[in-house]
């Protein structure tokens, strides 16, 4: 049986080659002029045959925290340095290729999308599994310096796969259904005993029920998604970390069996405001893992966030504050205030028992987990197109501080200033 990797490589190659072939066929009828434009980002137009946009994301962070930094840890560091291209060939195939800059950089999105029809498109390559609004939003466009813990930790992230997707019912419904090699790179960790999901099926359905209505409700979106996979016997790769990568929960417990992610999401962007929320729940079975080789209650990780933004300078959120109406030096640019409440918890779904004392034993039925709650206050400043400066203050609280970075302190502050350049 051919591997998913092989299928994907073939699919991408076929897509690009067929696009090129189509372009060659069409070439005699089309002016083969090559033109470079600088609209939102540098873009090369090959007549009407193809468009290739240059992408670049640079994010530099300055951080401060109540938690002491390690000696080898810098307070100023690059959060992201990525470059790539995206575009369309012959109006049929979209593509995106993105790679981290630097010696140890990795491939990010590498895919081709057959997009002749809105209602049914096929995407193949490496890209994010269709799960979690925030996780599938580019880091250059999220409202805070860091994604919510639940989106960052429990959503799968990127993997290699094939996905059918499209918009139907006058674009009110969007569906995505994919088959992936694994359950995403967010769930991976090195270590001989660490396991993550194998072949994964992911599906998401989002609806904009009032899209065609002329009212504030037209930007309202709701969605639900799921990812299904199996994990082999081992310790989960998942772990709880604060935005500054401080560990507060490491599940050294044995798992085996089905792993399920379920999520619901909500977004509404009336005028300069926005409200977003998600709830994600991840369960992993622990078949035959008790001390008597019987099943344990599934390992459970779940969490949520609710966030709101307000563009004080009046730009419409749905249109994006990245293009300020009065950029520097004509005006102050766009300024946005943001607030987010969130929580993420790790536990097990064991029923209450008389002797069900939570334990960190790798084979405990009642898992001694932990919960992080965080409040983030932020200001986003868009002085001009492509540039953003974010100020975030994060107050984090742990239910069990002994597992966290400050074992005798349950709450602590983190602060970050992020300067971003994005094409």
């Amino acid at each position: 049986m051919a591997s998913i990797q092989g299928v994907l490589t073939t699919a991408i190659a076929c897509g690009l080659l067929s696009g090129a072939a189509y372009a060659q066929q069409a070439a005699p009828d089309l002016p083969a002029r090559v033109k470079m434009t600088w609209d939102e980002r540098p873009s090369i137009r090959f007549g009407r045959i193809a468009r290739v946009d240059i992408r670049l994301t640079l994010q530099l962070d300055g951080r401060d925290s109540e938690v002491p930094f390690d000696p080898d840890e810098s307070r100023a560091s690059w959060a992201r340095k990525r470059a790539g291209v995206e575009g369309v060939v012959a109006g049929l195939f979209g593509f995106q290729i993105e790679h981290d800059l630097g010696a140890d950089g990795q491939w990010r999105d590498v895919y081709v999308n057959y997009q002749q029809f809105d209602a049914i498109q096929v995407q193949a390559g490496q890209f994010k599994l269709p799960f979690s609004r925030e996780q599938t939003t580019s880091p250059a466009r999220i409202d805070f310096a860091y994604r919510s813990r639940v989106a960052e930790t429990l959503a799968p992230g990127r993997d290699r796969g094939v996905m059918v997707h499209g918009r139907v019912v006058r674009n009110r419904l969007e569906y995505e259904l994919g088959l992936f090699e694994h359950d995403g790179n967010n769930a991976r960790r090195s270590g001989a005993d660490r396991v993550y999901g194998g072949r994964s099926v992911a599906a998401r359905l989002t609806a904009r029920p009032f899209r065609t209505v002329r009212s504030a409700a037209r930007t309202l979106e709701v969605g639900a998604a799921g990812v299904w996979s199996d994990v082999s016997e081992g310790l989960p790769s998942l772990k709880g970390e604060t935005p500054f990568d401080r560990e507060f929960y490491d599940p050294d417990l044995w798992v085996l069996g089905a792993q399920r992610r379920q999520g619901v999401e909500f977004r509404w962007r009336p005028g300069p405001f926005s409200v977003k929320s998600e709830y994600i729940r991840l369960t992993t079975e622990r078949r035959n893992q008790s001390v008597e080789d019987t099943d344990l209650s599934p390992f459970l990780a779940d969490g949520w966030y609710v966030s709101g933004t307000w563009i004080l300078t009046g730009e419409r959120k749905a249109a994006g504050p990245e293009n300020p109406r009065r950029p520097l030096p004509r005006g102050p640019g766009a300024i946005e205030a943001a607030v987010r409440f969130e929580a993420i918890a790790f536990s097990s779904s064991a029923p209450d028992k008389d002797d069900g004392e939570p334990s960190s034993s790798p084979r405990a039925d009642v898992v001694r987990g932990n919960r992080l709650r965080a409040l983030t206050l932020g200001v986003n400043w868009f002085p001009m197109r492509s540039v953003r400066v974010q100020f975030n203050v994060i107050r984090e609280s742990l239910d069990d501080p002994s597992q966290g970075p400050l074992p005798r302190q349950s709450s602590f502050w983190d602060r970050v200033v992020r300067v971003q350049f994005h094409w």
Binding site: V291, E292, D293, E357, S359, S361, P362, R363, A364
Partner: protein
């Protein structure tokens, strides 16, 4: 009314469902030496396989412990023992109650040891020895015998031994905030100076409490103890030495080792071994806590002064006349206690009767049933002759002085 009644039954059903608790068990019940207990351990099959194959490692595995009708979930289990007593077929176990559940105790105990009785064909030396220490008013671990089952399979006869830890310190010293060190035998050590560097102290004296304290806090008093004991007589006073060691307690513990023909104790054949050092918080004065006396009742003919002058510490202690008298007196009292009403012989027979059937059924023990009987027979001989020999030698020393 019927509805209220039905709802009430539903509400209180969980209460009715719980079986009524029996009389509350205590650690005294667990260590009742007149009972052959049944202890069950449940451990995942793969973990058990690993524990057996990696029995030389101190890797912990999760398990449940069942004693009487009480199941202690999520205890931490590991192989234990010195190199000579570790075994994959009949491993010794250490069971920690609080490793995975911080602060949790079982019958007030943070840990117990399940001794595999690997080196003692009689299987009762350790229990007998601790019993003597306790009767002589000395600090001693509590012990009892058990049939051990792992995943419902009989593993053999074990002793349940009280761990030397904070609850033990609280029971025996009245406080649990002191400094406790377990001696780790590396090579023969005669109580002499170990040098200035802390590395050797860390190796030999493993901190069991205040583990994260700096070296100065942990080891300066121990270094001073062995340095002081080795200084020339005209340089060091008894007060200097007593600042670091309870000499009365040392001499008493030494006398009991001698009385019981212990070959691997404070003045062992291979240097000092099998003891803990303890000192109260805020004090520099140490006490010796004897441990693992499964090689007692061996040296049936040994003199009461064998090897005691080869150790710098015991030599210095016995150089003081009153302490030598105390040494002789303890030997004398102990010998009379052993022989009084044939206490030791009776105790041997009682324990033999208690464990005999389980010992025979223990197919994992590294000796035959004949060797078991022969070892018990040797103990009987020891009980018959040892006290008299010790009393005779004590009298000779008294007469000669």
């Amino acid at each position: 009314m019927r509805l209220i009644l039905a709802l009430s039954i539903l509400f209180y059903w969980p209460v009715f469902r719980v079986s009524p608790p029996g009389p509350l068990a205590t650690s005294e019940d667990l260590f009742a030496s007149d009972t052959l207990h049944d202890v069950h351990l449940y451990i995942h099959s793969r973990d058990l396989q690993r524990l057996r194959s990696e029995y030389l490692e101190n890797t912990y595995f999760p398990a449940d412990l069942v004693w009487r009708h009480t199941r202690v979930r999520n205890v931490a289990l590991r192989s234990r023992g010195g190199l000579a007593t570790r075994d994959s077929v009949k491993p010794g176990f250490r069971v920690d109650m609080d490793r995975y559940t911080p602060g949790r105790t079982f019958l007030g105990l943070r840990a117990i040891v399940l001794d595999n009785l690997f080196q003692d064909p009689s299987m009762i030396r350790e229990a007998l020895s601790m019993s003597v220490h306790a009767r002589m008013g000395q600090t001693a671990m509590r012990e009892s015998f058990c049939r051990l089952y792992v995943n419902n399979e009989f593993q053999g006869l074990y002793t349940i031994v009280e761990d030397v830890d904070e609850p033990f310190l609280a029971r025996t010293f009245g406080r649990d905030d002191g400094y406790l060190f377990e001696y780790q035998w590396q090579q023969p050590f005669d109580g002499g100076p170990l040098g200035a560097a802390f590395g050797i102290y860390r190796t030999l004296f493993e901190a069991k409490t205040h583990e994260l304290a700096p070296n100065d806090e942990l080891y300066v008093p121990i270094r001073a103890l062995f340095d002081t004991a080795s200084l020339p007589d005209d340089v060091v006073t008894r007060e200097d030495l007593e600042r670091y060691i309870d000499l009365n307690q040392l001499v008493t513990a030494l006398a009991l080792d001698t009385l019981l023909g212990e070959e691997d104790g404070l003045a062992g054949l291979h240097g000092m071994n099998n003891f803990y050092l303890y000192r109260d918080a805020g004090s520099t004065r140490h006490s010796f806590i004897p441990w693992d006396r499964d090689r007692a009742f061996k040296l049936i003919d040994s003199s009461i002064v064998d090897r005691v002058y080869e150790n710098a510490l015991t030599r210095r202690a016995l150089s003081y006349g009153d302490l030598f008298d105390r040494y002789l007196r303890t030997l004398e009292d102990g010998a009379r206690m052993l022989s009084s009403g044939d206490w030791l012989s009776a105790e041997i027979e009682r324990l033999r009767a208690l464990i005999g059937q389980a010992a025979y059924a223990d197919s994992r023990k590294p000796y035959s049933n004949e060797e078991f009987e022969a070892a018990v027979q040797f103990l009987r001989e020891f009980a018959t002759v040892r006290s008299a020999r010790v009393l005779e030698e004590v009298a000779a020393y008294r007469g000669g002085r």
